[in-house]
């Protein structure tokens, strides 16, 4: 049986916003706590919840009417005691990436910083799965953690004025993918043929908070084939 997750510290941000905070750190423990609490809030608050935004250590709930935090706390502890944490249902998304020079604009910079060959860098990037810790900065931009510390490269001092959509980058302790063409400062190491943000698709967003993401390599030819098929 999993350990009981304590009720997070709550704070009213404004009349219709309440913030729940766990310990301020990026960790797996926090990730599970945040995702579990977010699911719990959606279930308990139902129609009173406009929407909620989770981050590394917080869940911020935008609500219609003020809620009784003490009641929520009791419910949280009851549910915790009654169930194990086995009900987590993360999706695992496999994301193809073409690491070809044409797309890996910061190939040299990443090699210089890390002292790794590009081949090793690729392998490390694909060696583990990541979690969507946070979405924001741009519509649908996923912050994926945690990156192997050997791949830590600071963001560009001077952000690019334009990074094309679907570019895969690393920045500090995280990796991410640009959903739309935009200015940006992450180190670009490849590109996926997938679209992250597609209003014409059945699901407009590829990623959801809490998803698990695994990258795998494709050739340039595969990239263009997948792209033309619009998968």
């Amino acid at each position: 049986m999993a350990a009981i997750i304590e009720f997070p510290h709550s704070m009213w941000i404004s009349q219709h916003t309440i913030r729940f905070a766990f310990h301020e750190e990026i960790s797996h423990t926090n990730f599970y706590a945040v995702q579990a609490f977010n699911r719990f809030l959606k279930k308990q608050l139902r129609h009173n919840l406009v929407e909620s935004v989770a981050s590394y250590h917080t869940v911020t709930a935008y609500i219609k009417q003020q809620i009784n935090v003490d009641l929520l706390k009791r419910q949280w502890l009851e549910i915790q005691a009654a169930t194990t944490n086995g009900e987590r249902t993360n999706r695992l998304l496999k994301i193809p990436v073409c690491y070809d020079e044409e797309f890996a604009l910061d190939r040299q910079r990443v090699m210089d910083y890390t002292g790794l060959s590009f081949e090793d860098m690729k392998m490390l990037h694909m060696s583990k799965s990541y979690y969507v810790y946070l979405i924001g900065f741009l519509p649908g931009f996923p912050y994926l953690g945690e990156l192997d510390s050997k791949l830590f490269v600071p963001r560009l001092e001077k952000p690019r004025t334009s990074v094309s959509a679907s570019s895969v980058g690393v920045g500090g302790g995280q990796t991410g993918i640009y959903p739309v063409d935009s200015p940006g400062g992450w180190n670009i190491i490849g590109k996926t043929p997938f679209e992250l943000f597609d209003l014409n698709g059945k699901e407009p967003f590829l990623f959801e908070l809490g998803d698990e993401v695994q990258f795998y390599e494709i050739t340039k030819q595969q990239f263009w084939e997948m792209k033309s098929k619009g998968v």
Partner: protein, 287 residues
């Protein structure tokens, strides 16, 4: 859907807005919607439109329109100089445009934003549950010089309608705004906390994403990075330079700067109507 107005001159910035794009903040989609909700809602009430109809929000001045069809409209928001065929008209009251008429929304005496709303609302592409325009996300319809604003079918008004002057919001050059302590208030130096609550700040520019303020430089007790977390319309962030930014309707949904305070939801429209050199005082409220 019928063509109502042709934009002949585009002022500072104009965009179509309905009440906002709710439900997608977890995906990084900003709320959008009107900057000054009070003036926006008043327009829909005056016209007896549905509360979620679409208005054209203008950062004045210098807008000019040509009527492509007859129509009923209302102008709400800050106090501006508005002319039909060069004759001044009153805001907050319905008025009629005949095909070929020229409407000018020229300049502001008070405030910075004006809403132009037709009977039945404007038509705009409806995406992710809203017709509000968000250029960064390629959502909604971008309006520029030469664009046509389309209207929607609506039943006619029986009378001219409006809001009596005493009920119209006013927008002063010095405002006091209620705030709540933000999640990172305690991380600021005591002196900065006091200065934030006691000194006036001056509006130094901004747009639908954020309003920049200048005043005493606000400092953290220790330089430390905080983890990104959810923000909202009204979050007051303090970046490294110590000058606060109030996040507005199109602001990103998460942010990594310390949040010193959050604006009371009922005071957001006053913040939205600030203009160059206006001053703002913050009054702390308990939750």
């Amino acid at each position: 859907m019928k063509p109502l107005l042709l934009i002949i001159k585009q002022g500072v910035y104009g965009s179509l807005q309905d009440k906002g794009r709710y439900g997608y903040r977890a995906f990084g989609i900003p709320l959008s919607g009107p900057m000054d909700k009070v003036s926006f809602q008043a327009a829909q009430l005056i016209l007896q439109n549905h509360h979620d109809q679409t208005s054209f929000e203008m950062f004045v001045g210098g807008f000019e329109f040509e009527a492509l069809a007859d129509g009923i409209y209302v102008l709400t928001g800050g106090q501006g100089v508005c002319l039909v065929n060069n004759a001044p008209i009153e805001m907050w009251k319905t008025f009629h445009l005949t095909k070929g008429d020229r409407l000018m929304v020229k300049s502001m005496n008070q405030g910075s934003i004006i809403y132009l709303t037709p009977l039945g609302g404007f038509y705009s592409k409806y995406e992710l549950g809203s017709s509000s325009c968000l250029p960064l996300g390629h959502l909604g319809t971008v309006i520029t010089k030469g664009s046509i604003l389309y209207g929607q079918a609506a039943s006619p008004l029986k009378f001219n309608r409006g809001l009596y002057a005493p009920y119209r919001p006013t927008f002063d050059s010095a405002i006091t705004i209620r705030i709540f302590k933000g999640p990172h208030f305690h991380l600021f130096m005591e002196k900065s906390q006091q200065q934030f609550l006691q000194n006036p700040f001056q509006f130094s520019g901004g747009n639908r994403m954020g309003y920049y303020l200048k005043g005493p430089v606000l400092q953290l007790q220790e330089m430390k990075e905080i983890l990104s977390e959810a923000t909202q319309f009204g979050s007051i962030q303090v970046p490294q330079n110590g000058n606060p930014i109030i996040l507005m309707a199109d602001a990103q949904t998460v942010g990594g700067y310390p949040i010193i305070a959050t604006v009371h939801e009922d005071d957001l429209h006053k913040v939205a109507q600030m203009r160059m050199f206006n001053t703002i005082h913050f009054a702390l409220e308990d939750m």
